[in-house]
């Protein structure tokens, strides 16, 4: 079971200093009222100003080469920035996907032209991307997509649609997985490519999909004869499936997989602490211990990714265990709040509603629980 082994990450002085720096920044931002902590802020907390401020400080694209606007920092340093922002419930949704997925994808598969064009803007917190994978008839079964790009002079004509695209209503571009050859039923993964679509181009329609909370984060994006110039092909033609899977694997094991409801936990512990009821706090201890464990797992994976090892199975486990934890925070909060006789702050009520109403989403995004568990069990058996 050596393949399931993760390393213990030691925090250098440099990392500690960086942590102090981001904490000070967050505290100041809160004091000047730039944001209020919210649950699930990496989906819901859209603030271009905040993204630009992070960009100014070099906290977007931190690990990228300096020539593309990056800082060439370590994976652990990026980890620290990310976890601090999430734990504080700060509004990081605008640049989230561009930083987490688009950047690494373009660095790995993009052309020099694409890197120079997009990465510095992303790192400044000024350019946002959306992910174009799911389609109405291709949810868990991604291989069933049938958006189609037809070759024309100097480019392609794209037709089809994407669904559940978070942020498409404010993102500037979308990396779109589509078929550049007709579907081959024998091997449905063949003939797909990734193309960058300018979401302001003629023929692109972005339709909101409102959540049950009334919020607007997701969209359906429809392409009607959208022209894409040659330069917008990412990587190799026909290699889209593999690239898309790589893009997905960047998103599995980060701290956003267990910190979505952390702002509630923070507020809850503060409130319980003020009641002085040790027994109530002790009921949080299994959850706190699980959170501590998951963070250690997630950091270990970040470390390994830096060493160019891809611990797929462990990453899937972080997401599976992490999303369960996010839900438990909300459940436990309501029971503890109701067993304490103290009246709690409206802030707790607000965070609790956010946590509960967003909870169905936690296990859905980035691969359902069932699919993750299949990945894990195959990994275990293969050893």
């Amino acid at each position: 079971m050596k393949s399931l082994q993760l390393s213990v990450v030691q925090q250098s002085e440099q990392v500690k200093a960086l942590r102090r720096e981001i904490r000070n920044f967050i505290q100041t931002e809160q004091e000047i009222g730039a944001f209020e902590p919210q649950c699930d802020s990496w989906l819901s907390g859209y603030s271009p100003e905040f993204s630009r401020k992070l960009g100014e400080r070099g906290w977007i694209g931190m690990t990228w080469p300096k020539c593309y606007g990056g800082q060439e920092r370590s994976a652990i340093e990026r980890y620290v920035i990310t976890e601090e922002l999430l734990a504080a419930g700060s509004p990081v949704a605008a640049h989230w996907i561009a930083d987490r997925q688009t950047g690494p994808l373009l660095l790995r598969f993009g052309t020099e032209y694409q890197r120079e064009l997009f990465l510095p803007k992303i790192a400044r917190g000024e350019c946002y991307f959306a992910i174009g994978l799911s389609e109405p008839n291709a949810g868990s079964d991604l291989a069933a997509i049938n958006s189609k790009a037809t070759r024309v002079d100097n480019g392609w004509i794209l037709n089809g649609s994407k669904i559940w695209t978070s942020g498409a209503h404010y993102a500037h571009y979308m990396i779109t997985l589509c078929r550049t050859s007709p579907m081959n039923q024998e091997n449905r993964h063949d003939g797909m490519s990734q193309l960058i679509v300018d979401l302001t181009a003629p023929g692109v329609t972005v339709r909101p999909i409102y959540l049950m909370t009334g919020e607007h984060h997701f969209n359906e994006v429809i392409f009607e004869d959208v022209f894409l110039p040659d330069e917008m092909l990412v990587g190799k033609m026909g290699n889209g499936w593999k690239q898309g899977m790589a893009e997905l694997s960047y998103e599995r094991s980060g701290p956003e997989r267990f910190l979505s409801t952390f702002p509630l936990l923070e507020e809850l512990v503060n409130a319980l602490q003020s009641t002085g009821d040790k027994l109530l706090i002790s009921q949080l201890s299994p959850l706190v211990s699980q959170l501590w464990t998951l963070r250690n797992m997630s950091m270990g994976i970040a470390q390994m990714l830096e060493d160019e090892i891809t611990p797929d199975v462990a990453a899937a486990l972080v997401k599976d265990l992490g999303t369960q934890l996010e839900k438990k925070v909300a459940e436990l909060a309501r029971l503890l709040v109701s067993s304490s006789h103290k009246a709690f702050s409206p802030q707790i009520e607000k965070l609790m509603s956010e946590a509960i109403l967003h909870s169905p989403g936690f296990t859905l995004r980035g691969g359902t629980t069932e699919i993750l568990r299949m990945i894990v069990s195959k990994g275990v058996i293969a050893k």
Partner: protein, 354 residues
């Protein structure tokens, strides 16, 4: 992991595989002392790890000793290796002599201290301790008590007192020893700071159960993975069924989480921190123990439930060890206390600051 550590682990693994068989463990549950295993480990210098050579030990780090112990957990080794390590480490810290013989520890609650009365020829010792691991096989038992003037620990030979044989769920010896005004001529009585010693023991012993469980969980996952690819039902190996896959994944999750928690606890222990890391690791791994036992038995079906199969050697130990040296509730209260004391800047700082 450095080369010496790797070598230690390799040779321990070999010894365990050779000697610590299913049959040996079964025999031991019926009351037989695993002398060969102890002697072989002692002969290979595995008993006094993390004690400097100048102090009579074999050198190495706590991490080395705990890696060996993890393997002992994996193979259900029926010997007081954990207790001997902890006793020797404490004795060494107190400047006392260490031992290569099996030792054990009677961890008392506050109102169960032994009494040591000195007379001109030696000591008169009274006290009773229950759930003392492996007491019947130990050469000496470390007990905590009071002399007329101060707190002290003493090493006493169990055969001087009365031993009532008891076992945990795993059939491991967890005896009750009683000393009623027993006179001992040669008996080391060492003055101690009670709070300090109690803290050392509670945390150190908890760490031993953490790594023992991490080892057992590894074996449980190995056995279960193997079984589910070998056992056929409805014409195919059972791991091809989605329901089994879901359970295997949950089991793997418990294993990885427990392993990481254990590694961080060991890291803290190595750095001399008897702190929240150890608490949280014990809580998490206790939970893993219960979940993994359930899942592995569920996947194994009836066969894993029989005496013949080896699985239960690990699962019964997991059930036992999670209750030893602190359940989730007990450590949970201690964690709550620390959160209330040190968590004034919030739970996030509490979790992330060292």
């Amino acid at each position: 992991m450095n080369d010496i550590t790797e070598m230690l682990i390799d040779s321990t693994n070999r010894i365990m595989k050779d000697i610590c068989t299913k049959e040996l463990v079964n025999e031991s549950e019926k009351g037989r002392w695993a002398a060969d295993l102890w002697d072989m480990l002692a002969g290979s210098g595995m008993i006094t790890v993390a004690i400097p050579e100048v102090r009579g030990g074999n050198g190495g780090e706590y991490t080395d000793a705990l890696s060996i112990l993890r393997l002992a957990g994996k193979y259900s080794a029926p010997i007081p290796l954990a207790e001997t390590y902890v006793a020797n480490w404490l004795l060494n810290q107190l400047g006392a002599d260490i031992s290569e013989e099996p030792l054990t520890i009677a961890l008392p609650s506050r109102n169960e201290l032994f009494s040591f009365k000195e007379n001109k020829d030696g000591w008169i010792i009274s006290g009773k301790a229950s759930s003392v691991p492996w007491a019947r096989f130990a050469k000496q038992v470390l007990v905590i008590g009071k002399t007329e003037s101060e707190h002290a620990l003493a090493l006493i030979k169990p055969e001087y007192g009365e031993i009532a044989f008891r076992q945990n769920l795993a059939g491991e010896a967890r005896d009750t020893i009683t000393f009623e005004s027993v006179f001992m001529e040669n008996c080391e009585v060492i003055p101690i700071d009670l709070d300090w010693v109690m803290k050392q023991l509670r945390y150190s012993l908890a760490v031993t159960r953490i790594v023992l469980m991490a080892g057992a969980l590894e074996r449980v996952l190995e056995l279960t993975g193997k079984y589910s690819s070998e056992r056929n039902q409805f014409g195919r190996p059972i791991h091809r069924f989605q329901a089994i896959q879901q359970q295997l994944a949950l089991l793997a999750g418990e294993y990885v989480a427990a392993g990481v928690a254990s590694d961080y606890a060991v890291d803290a222990f190595q750095k001399g921190q008897l702190s929240k890391e150890i608490i949280m690791a014990k809580i998490r791994i206790n939970e893993a123990a219960g979940n993994a036992a359930t899942l592995s038995h569920q996947i194994h079906g009836a066969i894993g439930f029989t005496y013949e199969h080896i699985l239960h050697q690990n699962t019964r130990r997991l059930w036992s060890w999670r209750d030893e040296f602190g359940t989730e509730t007990e450590w949970g209260m201690e964690l709550a206390e620390q959160i209330m004391e040190k968590g004034q800047t919030g739970i996030w700082s509490f979790l992330t600051d060292k």
